[in-house]
Structures are given as structure tokens and as C-alpha cells.
């Protein structure tokens, strides 16, 4: 499938910029990310890392520029369920009245629409056994199947992350986006998450994860993007985590902060 001369790109951005009511969060993003790798996005707070992920889910519309993901424009990729998203802990209302099983099942909603038929219009319980089976398998893959009937608010930090991983797995996407998947996570959960992501990449799928955990980046990532309101660098971990590159990446924001 992969043409050795032409590497498959999972993200292709040309001149992309994004703003929040006039304040530029990301500018001049020209980016080519190779598929089938575990790519880490690092950078200081407020550098636009989460914004980059939200551009890829279509939640945020770019101010200008063109953006393609998995070889498709964003709208097509969304309709094709190509991109899955694991949110940051603070983006979720943990008092929401929903169980673990029902959260994971929401990963199948887009697939049930794609498979068509009248069942897609029914409430989640009735969308069909195959979808429920896939959701269950996804829960088992990150070992949250024994928590299926718990309300999500009753979970630990690591369990919460794994539940949202299970939702993404159930979605069967080609690209998994994760926003701080390792923040506030216990050792066992971290192990399960990293192992799953490596396996996912081995199957030819791609992972894009925002993180502050530089040691983990050094150990696990195949590719690193350094973001600081623009792309400050792209390369393999050794190169990007070298002192000069990091300093260059983190320096600009301090400079701006002084002004």
C-alpha cells in the first residue's frame, strides 16, 4: 500500500492559521507528518498544541490555509471516521450522567451512521449487536471492561483516560489524537496506554499526542513536533529533544511574554 518513493502523509498543512476572537493562536503552519508513527507534539503552555488537535477534528475552523488529514479534506475525513480524539481531562464534565459503556459506545455512533439503514436513527441501545460487540472489545483492549457500568465520575484519572482511549479504539480510526493522555495517570494505566499506542502504530495507524512528559517522548515517540504559536521544529526525538532545539522552541514565548 505504501509507495516507498512517496511516503504517506497523515497530516498536510499549508499556511494554516487559527485565532480565538482575533487573537492569533497558531500562524503559518506548514507541516507534513508521516503516517504510521507515534508523533509527539510538545511545546510550552498556550503554544497552540490543543488548537492544532482541534483543527484536525474540525471543531475549530482554520482562519486561512489548507489542511488535509489522512489524504482527505477535514470534512471528508470526519464523515469517514478517520480521526479519533481523546480529550484533556478539563474538557469533560465528569458529573455528566453517563456510564463507561455508554461513553465507549459513542465511538460507534459515526460508524452506525456510515453503515446506514433505519437502525442508525434508533437510540444507542438498539443500534445493533455488532456495534455493541466492537465497543466491548475496545473496553477489553485497555482493560476497562470490568468498569462498564460505573458512572464516569467514579473513576480514577488513569481509568478515565483509558475509557476515552476505548472510545477512540471503538471508532476504528486511522489517526488517533490524544491531548495530554499521560497527565495525572497512574503507572499501570500509563503502561496500558503506551503499549496500546505502540501496537496501534505497528498496525500501520498513526498517533498524534500532545504531552508535557519529555522522558516518555524520548522513550516512545518516533517523531516530534515542537509547537510555539507556529511550528518551531519537526524531527526525530533525539534531534528535537537536544538542548538547542528545545531552547529555541521554548524561548520565543518567553521573549513575547516580556513584551
Amino acid at each position: 500500500m505504501t509507495n516507498p518513493e512517496h511516503e504517506r502523509w497523515v497530516v498536510e498543512a499549508d499556511g494554516v492559521a487559527a485565532d480565538y476572537s482575533g487573537l492569533i493562536a497558531l500562524a503559518d503552519v506548514d507541516l507534513r507528518l508521516p503516517a504510521a508513527r507515534l508523533t509527539a507534539i510538545i511545546g510550552p503552555n498556550g503554544a497552540g498544541k490543543s488548537t492544532l488537535l482541534k483543527l484536525l477534528t474540525g471543531m475549530k475552523k482554520p482562519l486561512r490555509g489548507s489542511l488535509r488529514v489522512c489524504g482527505m479534506d477535514i470534512h471528508t475525513a470526519r464523515r469517514a471516521n478517520a480521526v479519533a480524539y481523546v480529550p484533556q481531562e478539563t474538557d469533560i464534565d465528569w458529573d455528566y450522567p453517563i456510564s463507561v459503556r455508554d461513553v465507549v459506545l459513542t465511538g460507534r455512533y459515526g460508524r452506525s451512521r456510515q453503515s446506514g439503514g433505519w437502525r442508525a436513527w434508533l437510540p444507542p441501545r438498539f443500534i445493533g449487536a455488532s456495534h455493541h460487540d466492537k465497543a466491548h472489545a475496545a473496553m477489553a483492549a485497555v482493560q476497562v471492561d470490568d468498569l462498564a457500568d460505573r458512572p464516569i465520575g467514579a473513576l480514577s484519572g488513569g481509568q478515565k483516560k483509558r475509557v476515552f482511549m476505548a472510545r477512540s479504539i471503538a471508532q476504528e480510526a486511522d489517526l488517533m489524537l490524544l491531548d495530554e493522555p499521560l497527565a495525572g495517570v497512574d503507572r499501570r494505566s500509563e503502561r496500558i496506554i503506551i503499549d496500546y499506542l505502540k501496537e496501534f502504530v505497528r498496525c500501520g495507524k498513526s498517533v498524534l499526542m500532545v504531552t508535557h512528559d519529555l522522558p516518555t517522548v524520548r522513550d516512545c515517540a518516533d517523531w516530534v513536533v515542537l509547537v510555539n504559536r507556529a511550528i518551531a521544529g519537526v524531527g526525530d526525538p533525539e534531534e528535537m529533544l537536544a538542548a538547542e532545539a528545545l531552547e529555541k522552541g521554548y524561548h520565543r514565548i518567553e521573549h513575547r511574554g516580556e513584551r
Binding site: 471516521n81 469533560i92 458529573d95 450522567p97 453517563i98 459513542t106
Partner: protein
């Protein structure tokens, strides 16, 4: 063509309404004399059926209002329907149509201000709804009596006509149908809009769809509880239900029960005590909320019981 359709629909609706009314009066016939007595009047039966529909629809929408933190938005839309009602009255058009148009204009206006200026959401809402409300007050002061204004502001469920009842039932059925068909979309959108977007749902459509349903619900509740108090019926049932369960379907069921209980009991007490029906309905809802709060799994009563049980255990 359109007129024929409206006539056809209202014919079917009236037949259905009469059917339900006779069924209701049959059920009430089984109740003890003291409870059944007010409902021997036809206008009380109509009021009861309207209250049931309004209580149920408010109960369902209330869950989304509470989960999405739209309490202030509900308040804004409910106040903003006033000029629409006044203009419709002036033109002799149906009140519901005018109310719906001005409610929608406000909802869109709030979104517009928010996106295009630096003004934050709460200020945008406060700004739009007070301006619309003021417009309504000014128009009404010119054209109608103060009794009329009072009826719009605080509802007049005893004066519900057959035509209004039929419209209320249609809107109620529509809202229920949409929530049933779009349950998954609304669930994902209120829980994690990012995921909704990632799996190809149109978050803008869902957002405005939900807002449209909210506006419709508010419009149907106008006659029952009035402009000022309708927001209570959009907050209290959902808030009460959220104290008692951790599942959305159950929360919706409880919320509908609370909505129906407070509108019907409120109607009954308002007849018995000869007080304003809208106010009574909201008071009943609040009492139910307080009881639920005290008796909920994490409420003070159960906590006290648990503490005592633990103390007994230690004493042994």
C-alpha cells in the same frame, strides 16, 4: 393549499384532543370526589391536558438545559419572545408564531454578538434579552390592557382555548420526536462536542437545533406558566433529576415526572387556593427539588442515617 393543510391538521388535532380529554375525565372519575371535583369543568380539563404536555416537554428539554449550562440562555429566550407576542397580537396572527420568530432572532443575535465582538456570552445574552423584553413592554403598553400583559408575563392556563391546546400538543409531539431521533447527536454534543465533530456530526446544526427546540418549548409554555417563570420549568426538573441518578435516560424519565407532577399539582392547588397557576406550579417544582435534595443518595438525611448506622456498628 396551506390553509387546507392547516385546517386538516387542526381537524385531526382537535379530534385527538377531544379523545384525550374524554379519556382524562374517565380516569379522573375513578379518583376520590375531593380531588376530582375541580375537573368537572371543561376548562379545567383542558388546562390539565395542557399542563401534562407542557410539564413533559419541559422535563425533557430541562435535562439538556442543565447539562449544557443553558439556564441563562433559557431565561434570555423566554424574555425575548415578548415583542413577538405583542406584534402577533397587533397583526391578528397566531401568538405562537410571533413568539417563535422573536425567540429565534434573539438566539441568533446572541450568537452573532458573541462571535463578532469581544463581548462575552453572559453579557451578550443580558444585552439582547433585556432589549427585546423592553421592546415588548413598550409595544404592549401601547396596544393592550394591563390584564393582557399580566397573562403573557405570568400565564393563564385556565383560559387555554381548544386551538392553543391543539398547537401545544403538536409542538410537544414534534419536540419528543426530535429528541428521540436525535438522542445520540444531542448526547454526544452535550457531553463532548469535540468528539461529535470528529465523528462527522455537524455541531452547528445540533447547536441551533437544540436551541430551536428550546425556543419551541418556551413558546408552548407561555400560556401555562408565562414568560417570567418558564425558565424555572426548564431548570428545576432537570436539576432535581440530576441529584437522583447517574444515567441520562433515567434522568430524563425522572425529569419528566417532576415536570408533570409540578404542573398538575400546581394547577390543582391554584384552583383550590384561588392563586396564580404559574406561580403555584413553580413553587411545587421547587418543593419537589428541596425534598429530592434532602433525600438524595448524598443528601443530609441519608448521610445522617449512614452516620448513625456506623455509630451503632462501632458501639457493638
Amino acid at each position: 393549499m396551506l390553509e387546507a393543510l392547516v385546517e386538516f391538521l387542526s381537524g385531526i388535532g382537535t379530534a385527538w384532543a377531544n379523545h384525550l380529554l374524554s379519556w382524562l375525565s374517565y380516569v379522573i372519575g375513578w379518583l376520590p370526589e375531593t380531588i376530582a371535583e375541580p375537573f368537572q369543568y371543561q376548562f379545567m380539563l383542558r388546562a390539565l391536558l395542557t399542563s401534562l404536555v407542557v410539564g413533559g416537554v419541559c422535563g425533557i428539554l430541562s435535562c439538556y438545559v442543565v447539562l449544557k449550562r443553558w439556564a441563562l440562555l433559557g431565561d434570555a429566550i423566554s424574555h425575548a419572545v415578548l415583542p413577538g407576542v405583542a406584534i402577533a397580537y397587533l397583526l391578528g396572527a397566531p401568538m405562537l408564531v410571533g413568539a417563535f420568530i422573536s425567540g429565534s432572532v434573539t438566539a441568533v443575535g446572541i450568537g452573532f454578538i458573541q462571535r463578532n465582538t469581544r463581548i462575552k456570552e453572559d453579557s451578550a445574552m443580558g444585552l439582547m434579552f433585556t432589549a427585546m423584553f423592553a421592546l415588548g413592554v413598550v409595544i404592549i403598553s401601547r396596544i393592550a390592557t394591563s390584564t393582557h400583559l399580566m397573562h403573557i408575563l405570568f400565564g393563564n392556563v385556565l383560559g387555554v382555548t381548544m386551538a392553543t391546546l391543539v398547537t401545544t400538543m403538536y409542538i410537544g409531539a414534534f419536540a419528543l420526536g426530535v429528541v428521540l431521533l436525535c438522542y445520540k447527536q444531542f448526547l454526544v454534543y452535550t457531553f463532548d462536542p469535540n468528539h461529535a465533530s470528529a465523528i462527522g456530526m455537524s455541531t452547528g446544526m445540533i447547536h441551533y437545533g437544540l436551541m430551536l427546540l428550546l425556543t419551541l418549548t418556551i413558546v408552548t409554555s407561555l400560556e401555562t406558566v408565562g414568560v417570567i417563570l418558564v425558565v424555572a420549568m426548564l431548570i428545576i426538573p432537570g436539576a432535581t433529576a440530576s441529584l437522583l441518578t447517574h444515567r441520562l435516560p433515567r434522568m430524563m424519565a425522572i425529569s419528566v415526572l417532576v415536570g408533570i407532577a409540578s404542573t398538575t399539582l400546581g394547577l390543582y392547588f391554584s384552583f383550590r387556593l384561588d392563586v396564580a397557576s404559574g406561580g403555584m406550579m413553580v413553587l411545587v417544582a421547587f418543593v419537589i427539588f428541596v425534598i429530592a435534595g434532602l433525600a438524595s443518595p448524598v443528601g443530609p438525611i441519608r448521610q445522617q442515617l449512614r452516620r448513625r448506622a456506623r455509630a451503632d456498628l462501632n458501639a457493638d
